[in-house]
Symmetry: C2
Subunit: 150 residues, 2 copies
Amino acid sequence: MKLTKHTDYAFRVLIYLAGYEKDKLATIKEVTEVFDISRDHVMKIVQKLAKAGFVDAVRGKFGGMRLGRNAADINLRDVVTLMEVTLAPVNCETPLCRIAQGCQLQAILFDAQEMFLSHIGQYTLSDLVKPQSETLYIIKALGESFAAKN
Amino acid sequence: MKLTKHTDYAFRVLIYLAGYEKDKLATIKEVTEVFDISRDHVMKIVQKLAKAGFVDAVRGKFGGMRLGRNAADINLRDVVTLMEVTLAPVNCETPLCRIAQGCQLQAILFDAQEMFLSHIGQYTLSDLVKPQSETLYIIKALGESFAAKN
DNA sequence: TTAATAGCGGTATTATAAATGCATCTTTTG
DNA sequence: CAAAAGATGCATTTATAATACCGCTATTAA
């Protein structure tokens, strides 16, 4: 049930970017410092998000990243399925479970997983960073405090 | 999202016991051999199940175990919550996430988890081992083949 | 045309937690 | 009291997530 930190961090990055003015670029360094995660780690996550089109990464001096599409078009389910390597709740195949054939539990667990995912699928990034929200306020403050130091 | 093998194995043990005649005892050894899991491992799982009342463990010679209550009274959600140590999809507290305060994602993920659990909660062990089911047939066969060898 | 900035990507290492194994105990019955 | 069977604590191994390292490529300004 527990999601990996990759997924967790991916959400943090996306939320942070969603709080930025559209088209303004945030650097890896900024995200790294704001969330206190290692540069390399943020790098991997951003690359994955970039490949999936959730963020645009701009190389070179004055480069950085921004959302690759509108926050309202970034479905949270898609982020989870992108970041999580193993989603299956159980592995009945290797090694093969002696009672796998005809086992009713598999279907129940997979349906439950689908319930989990489809609930998340009801939301987009824009639901996490609403106009007057506390989250937006906090992000702005973090961004400003970073800008002041640099 | 992935459940631990402890949970997986707990289900296998319960399913196996549910296929037994009521009050007839199965030994750890039998479960061990039938599912090809180590004795020590099965032990741990059975002990946890016993403490929760899902199985009755009978010590001493001619001991063994049986279901601690009717299969229809063993809710699958309770089994999962018993066996899984960490159910929380994310940990926003340690270390504290900079945007935890007012974060909408937490609620969404926890609600999704609740969706997962409540779907499982709609079923009991009796749904996994129905009277004419393939599962019951397989269990019986496995039990007989074990008995023949011992 | 080079220095500085910033993202890319493969590989290696470390940390954590799950999975497993070991040793020794108690309980029950013939 | 011996054999069978479960109880329990601790140690070890393994898997995988998390992190770090290193050299690369792209872009821009002096």
